[in-house]
Structure formats: structure tokens, C-alpha cells
């Protein structure tokens, strides 16, 4: 790291580089600007996908044709899933908060490869465009985000752009992973040994490895599906001797580890927030670190739990069910750590804390229902029903989404140098949280009753639950709008603050300027304390 004495205390939001205006952002290699670019991109596409979700729920408010027919419905859940998974939650916290805070929290001036970092945002945008242009050239795909063979190469719908787009998005994810691993290995500030590193960087590190080692699996799988569609290679085509179940194996060899890409950084953010708002040392720092690594590793070997009814061998069923139960343990350890951290702490009841605690609540429901799905006998009953939909929304939306919101409110003043409006933020949270529960809780019930997923229509006996659920969707979207409007407004007009440490945090990001300067530090800090040393 060369020592330059430059840009004294001009915030990264303000400095003028080689390029002016918007170019100064989309061509900036500053990790903080790149982080915000991801944030804004995600905001746009999250809103789009959320609208698709709302439309689906409106269709389901009554049986039969309400506002759309089957083909439209199929296209909607496909595009909703692709956007939410590949464009929102997989890049998710690493792309936004990882980019912004990983270097700061380990006392570095930037990530290891700033230009590569910017490139991965560009690749991300190109991937998005490829996915979404499918609408204009031949319509949306209708395969679901899982692209199961053989349907994905037999359907007349237009799946190629989506396959290609997801492939490109994978590259972006891999590059972020490589960047973060090298950053953590090479750029920690002097004195910051591995076990003095805060937990959010730890989880980013574990996640980055999963990004590097799992994403190529989906890459090659999507590529083979493209080849299957275009050339008819036969590797997934039962008519040519291929085994469609092998497609499912490959797909989930990526996609189960991918759910840990989604949730691990969220867990990291929660582990940052709870000690600060309890003014207490995190309980069991090492247990959290080790369980993160354990989750990342064991998470590779449970993919078969998505395929219990697909026709695997009996032996495989037992093995995957057993491993699924094993992988639940480290997650449970973390819940225990978080709760113990709050115990006897002096709680500071602010918006990030509300999000963090509600995260624990929904994450637990998601995790416990995961066990229902992971045990063989019950899985047969609820597989491919709304129970699964409820499970993964509790985990992906409840887990990743809530932790994202927690992190966004927590780091908001640092990122923008302004405070959000706390009343509106709390109102938004309350409305959103109630909407969330009303939307997804009935789905567990519907699933157990036997309502299958991915149909635009249902039997009359499911009507009651669906009405409640759809009303919940409206409430939740209202909550989301309050939150988004509040944050967007506050980022431009909120109460200005240059308080370095509004919440009383102990990690390094609270020692930089608010908002940070271009290179974060005038002088690289020397770390002597462990993180979370509350007296």
C-alpha cells in the first residue's frame, strides 16, 4: 500500500475524479461507490420483482382466472424467481455491504482488485439486461428459476436468454468472491489477526469461498442446458439416454450452497448489530466463526434434500436427510449466540435492532420448517406445495431480506452522512413485518392441506388461506414502500450527521469519517483490541 496524502476529508460521495456526474459513479473503482451502484441496481429490480410477486398474489386471491391466465402466471413466477434469486439475494449483502464495509472493517483502503470489482458490477448489469431482454425477443421463460430438464429444453418458451443471463451473473458473483478472499488474506490492517476480525468480514470470507467453488457448477449446468437446447447433446435428455435427475443433482450442488451464499452474510450483519444495540460483547465469537465455516462446508453435501421425490436411490435419501439435519446444527448455534448476546444487555431499541430481532424470529421459523422438509416422510407430503414456498420465503426473504434491512438502517448514517427518519422507519418495519407474517404463515397451512406450488389456480377449499395471504401481500408491499420512500428521501434530505459513531459500535468502520473519505483512512489503523470489547 503506497502512502498518499490526498483527498483530505472529502467524502467519497463528493470527491470529483476523472469523470463527472454519473460517469464518476459507473466508472468509479472506489469500493464504496461500487457498493452503492449495486444497492441502486438492486432497488430497481427488487421493486420490479416485488410487483410481479404482488400480481401473482392478486391472481391467487380467488380461484380461477382473476387477472391472468396460466402462461402469464408461469412466466411471472419464473422471472420473479430469477430476479429475486440471481439478481437480488445471491449478490445481496456481499455486493452492497461487503463492498462498502469489508475494506473499512479490516482497515484497508479498498478491495484487492478495485478494477475487477467495478467490472463485476458491469458484468452484473449485462447479465441483468440479457435476462430481461428475453421479454422483448420472444417472451419470458416459463420453467421456474430452477430450469429443470427436460422441460427447459423442450418448452417453446424463450429460455435461452435467461440461461445465458444467469450464466453471466454467475461470473460476477465469482469475481466478487475472488476479490473478497484475496482482500481478507492480504489486506487486513496490522494487528488484525484472524480472530480479531469482526464477524461480518468472517462471514463474507466463508461466503466468498462458496461463491468461488459452487458458482462454476451452475455455470456449466446452464451452459449444458443451452447446448442441450441448441445442439441436442443428450446429456440431460432421457430420449437420448441422458438422466434428467443428473440435471437436478448439478443444479442443487450449486443451489443449496447458494442458499448459504444468501444467508451467511446476513448472519454476519446480525452478529455485528446485536452487540452494538445490546452494548455487550458478542456471545461466543469463535463459535460463530467456526459455525459459519462449518455451514459453508457441510452445506455442500445436502443438496439432495431438494430431490427426495425425484427418484433417487433409497440410500441417497437417507444420506441426504441425515446430512440436512447435521447442517441445521450450526445455524441453531448461532441463534443461541444471538439470544445470549442480548441477555442482560442494555438494549437500545432502534430500527436496526427491530429488524435484527425480527430476523431471528423469522429465521427460526424458516429453519425449523426446513427440518420438516428435511425429514423424508414429511417431505413426501409437503414437497412442491406452498409449504416449501413459505419455508424459503421465511428464510430467504425473512433471513436475507430482514438482515439486509437491518444492515441498511444500521450503516445508513455511515453511508450517506445523514440519518433516516426513525419514526417512519419503525412504522415501515411494523407494517412490513405484519404483512410478511400474514402473507407467508397461511402458506404453511395451505401446503399441509395440499395446495401445490406454481399453479395459477386452486381448488375452492384453499380459498380462505389464500385470501388472507393475498391481503398480507398488499400490506407487506405497503410496508416496503414506506421503508423505501423513507430511505430514499432520507439519503437526500435526512438530518445531516458527521458523528463518526452514532450507535456506539466498536468495529473499525465507526472510526472513519462519516461518510468515509475516498481512501477511508488517513493512516491505516493499528488493531490491538478484539472486536466487540464493550466495557
Amino acid at each position: 500500500m503506497s502512502e498518499t496524502t490526498s483527498s483530505k476529508h472529502v467524502s467519497f460521495l463528493q470527491y470529483k475524479g476523472k469523470y463527472k456526474g454519473i460517469l464518476g459513479w459507473i466508472l468509479s473503482t472506489d469500493h464504496k461507490r461500487v457498493g452503492l451502484l449495486y444497492l441502486y441496481t438492486m432497488l430497481v429490480f427488487f421493486s420490479l420483482a416485488a410487483i410481479l410477486g404482488l400480481l401473482m398474489k392478486l391472481q391467487l386471491i380467488a380461484p380461477g382466472y382473476t387477472i391472468m391466465g396460466p402462461q402469464t402466471y408461469n412466466a411471472m413466477f419464473t422471472v420473479h424467481g430469477i430476479i429475486m434469486i440471481f439478481i437480488i439475494v445471491v449478490p445481496g449483502l456481499p455486493a452492497v455491504f461487503g463492498n462498502f464495509f469489508l475494506p473499512i472493517m479490516i482497515g484497508a483502503k479498498d478491495v484487492a482488485f478495485p478494477r475487477l470489482n467495478l467490472a463485476s458490477w458491469w458484468i452484473y448489469v449485462i447479465g441483468i439486461l440479457v435476462v430481461l431482454t428475453s421479454q422483448f425477443v420472444g417472451g419470458w421463460p416459463d420453467t421456474g428459476w430452477t430450469f429443470y430438464a427436460p422441460y427447459s429444453f423442450q418448452t417453446p418458451a424463450n429460455v435461452l436468454p435467461a440461461l445465458f443471463g444467469a450464466f453471466i451473473l454467475g461470473f460476477s458473483s465469482i469475481l466478487t468472491g475472488i476479490n473478497f478472499v484475496v482482500t481478507v488474506h492480504r489486506m487486513r490492517a496490522p494487528g488484525m489477526s484472524w480472530f480479531k476480525m469482526p464477524l461480518f468480514p468472517w462471514t463474507l470470507y466463508a461466503t466468498a469461498w462458496v461463491q468461488i467453488l459452487a458458482t462454476p457448477v451452475i455455470g456449466i449446468t446452464l451452459l449444458l442446458t443451452v447446448m442441450e437446447r441448441v445442439l441436442g447433446v443428450g446429456v440431460f435428455d432421457p430420449a437420448l439416454g441422458g438422466d434428467p435427475i443428473l440435471y437436478q443433482h448439478l443444479f442443487w450442488i450449486y443451489s443449496h450452497p447458494a442458499v448459504y451464499i444468501m444467508i451467511l452474510p446476513g448472519m454476519g450483519a446480525i452478529s455485528e448489530i446485536l452487540p452494538v444495540f445490546s452494548q455487550k460483547r458478542i456471545y461466543g465469537y469463535k463459535a460463530i466463526v467456526l459455525s459459519s465455516l462449518a455451514i459453508a462446508f457441510v452445506g455442500y453435501f445436502v443438496w439432495g434434500h431438494h430431490m427426495f421425490t425425484s427418484g433417487m436411490s433409497g440410500r441417497a435419501l437417507y444420506a441426504f436427510s441425515f446430512l440436512t439435519f447435521i447442517v441445521a446444527i450450526p445455524s441453531a448455534i448461532k441463534v443461541f449466540n444471538w439470544v445470549s448476546t442480548m441477555y442482560k444487555g442494555s438494549l437500545n431499541l432502534q430500527t436496526p435492532f427491530y429488524w435484527a430481532t425480527s430476523f431471528i424470529f423469522v429465521f427460526m421459523i424458516g429453519g425449523l420448517t426446513g427440518l420438516v422438509l428435511g425429514s423424508l416422510a414429511t417431505n413426501v407430503h409437503v414437497h412442491d406445495t406452498h409449504f416449501v414456498v413459505a419455508h424459503f420465503h421465511f428464510i430467504v426473504f425473512g433471513g436475507t431480506g430482514f438482515s439486509f434491512m437491518a444492515a441498511l438502517h444500521y450503516w445508513f448514517p455511515k453511508m450517506f452522512g445523514r440519518m433516516y427518519d426513525a419514526n417512519w422507519a419503525n412504522t415501515g418495519w411494523a407494517v412490513f413485518f405484519s404483512g410478511f407474517l400474514t402473507l407467508y404463515l397461511p402458506m404453511f397451512y395451505l401446503g399441509i392441506q395440499g395446495m401445490p406450488r406454481r399453479y395459477y389456480d386452486y381448488l375452492p377449499e384453499f380459498h380462505g388461506g389464500n385470501i388472507i395471504s393475498s391481503l398480507g401481500a398488499i400490506l407487506m408491499i405497503a410496508g416496503a414502500m414506506i421503508i423505501i420512500v423513507n430511505l430514499v428521501r432520507s439519503s437526500r434530505h435526512g438530518q445531516k450527521t458527521s458523528d463518526k459513531n452514532p450507535w456506539g459500535g466498536r468495529t473499525l468502520e465507526w472510526e472513519t469519517d462519516t461518510p468515509p473519505t475516498l481512501e477511508n483512512w488517513d493512516e491505516i489503523p493499528n488493531v490491538t483490541e478484539e472486536p466487540y470489547e464493550y466495557k
Partner: protein, 205 residues
């Protein structure tokens, strides 16, 4: 340095760059790893057809290409030694040799594929579709795996050309050669993959 401008200094960390390359290689290993996994599954399910399929491939051309790649791996490694010793000419010579060998590999591959495609022996081709499922899978995998491998050869060649220029322009030299080193690593990866592709397709029958 100017006030308020993007940092113009470049943070240099060769070890970090190399680590980045290794991580990328791991990505590639898993990508090919999944193809090997598919091969294992389909071979397990169609032992006869894979046995016979292997006999259809030309051991001579396969062996020749193996030898070519091994030699090219050695020459690229030697070009690194040369640059470390500050011998620019030799480094260029070794690198040029590697590039040429890569090209020869591709030409061989082209001839090999060309002969098969002519007989309708390609995915979706008539001659292949008349054969049994196992054979279709064997050749499907053969084309996919050696095709993706060949794509990596082409990328490697592009890298060689770039680094060759950089050495000529003294941008890559005795004390700053991580580009050459990383290109070399990449090329060894290409070699590693072939070390397994060769016996699996050409030898085992």
C-alpha cells in the same frame, strides 16, 4: 497527487494477484469437475458403450496432443525462469514456442473433429443418433469436454499474445512478471485438465 481525485497510485501486490489466479483456477477445476462427474455417472451406467466408444478415438492423435501440451507446459514454465533471470530474449522464445505448440494442438483437434463431423458423428448428427444411448452420451461428452477444453486453449493463446507484447515492451520484466506467472498457471490448468481427459476418452477401453 492532485487533490480530490481518484487515487492514481496502483496498489501492487504480486502475491495477492497470484492468489487471485489460484482462486480462479479452483473455479475452473470445479467447472470441469462437474463434467468429470457427469462422465463418471454415465460411464457407470453405460460401461459397454463407453468401452466401445473409446476404441473409436485415435490413440495416436490423443497421445500426440498430450505430448504437445506437456512440452508447452514445460516451455511456459521455463519462460518464467528466464524472466526471473532477466533473460528477455529467452523468455520470448519459450513463450513463442508455447504459443506455437498451442496452435498445433488446435490444428490436431480440428483435424480430429473434422473427420468425425464429416461422417455425421456429432451431437444431433444422423450417424450418431443411429447408435445406442451410451454411445450418444460418450460422444456428447467427448465433444462438450474437449470443446470446452479447446476454448480454454484459445483463451490461453490470447493471454500468451498479450503477455508476449508486454514482455517486448518491457512492461513485464525481471522484477514485475506476475502477468507471465499467472498466464503460466492458467496454462498448467489447461494441461491438468487434459491429463485426465486423455486417458478417460482415448485410453480406457
Amino acid at each position: 497527487m492532485e487533490k480530490n481525485s481518484e487515487p492514481t497510485h496502483v496498489h501492487r501486490d504480486d502475491e495477492g494477484d497470484k492468489m487471485g489466479m489460484w482462486l480462479f483456477i479452483f473455479t475452473e477445476l470445479l467447472l470441469f469437475g462437474m463434467l468429470f462427474l457427469m462422465y463418471a455417472v454415465y460411464r457407470y451406467r453405460n460401461p459397454e458403450a463407453f468401452y466401445l466408444g473409446g476404441k473409436e478415438l485415435d490413440v495416436f492423435i490423443g497421445t500426440l496432443n498430450t505430448v504437445i501440451l506437456l512440452i508447452s507446459s514445460a516451455t511456459v514454465a521455463m519462460s518464467i525462469s528466464a524472466i526471473q533471470k532477466g533473460r528477455k530474449k529467452q523468455a520470448l522464445l519459450f513463450l513463442g514456442t508455447t504459443l506455437t505448440l498451442a496452435l498445433v494442438f488446435l490444428v490436431n483437434k480440428y483435424l480430429e473433429w473434422g473427420a468425425k463431423i464429416e461422417y455425421g458423428f456429432y451431437p444431433g448428427g444422423e450417424a450418431l443418433l443411429e447408435l445406442g444411448h451410451g454411445t450418444i452420451l460418450f460422444f456428447g461428452l467427448y465433444y462438450v469436454m474437449s470443446g470446452i477444453h479447446a476454448l480454454h486453449i484459445i483463451i490461453g493463446m490470447a493471454l500468451f499474445i498479450y503477455v508476449f507484447q508486454q514482455i517486448r515492451k518491457e512492461k513485464v520484466h525481471q522484477t514485475d512478471y506476475v502477468w507471465l506467472e499467472n498466464t503460466g498457471l492458467y496454462w498448467h490448468l489447461v494441461d491438468l485438465i487434459w491429463i485426465f481427459l486423455f486417458p478417460l476418452f482415448y485410453l480406457i477401453h
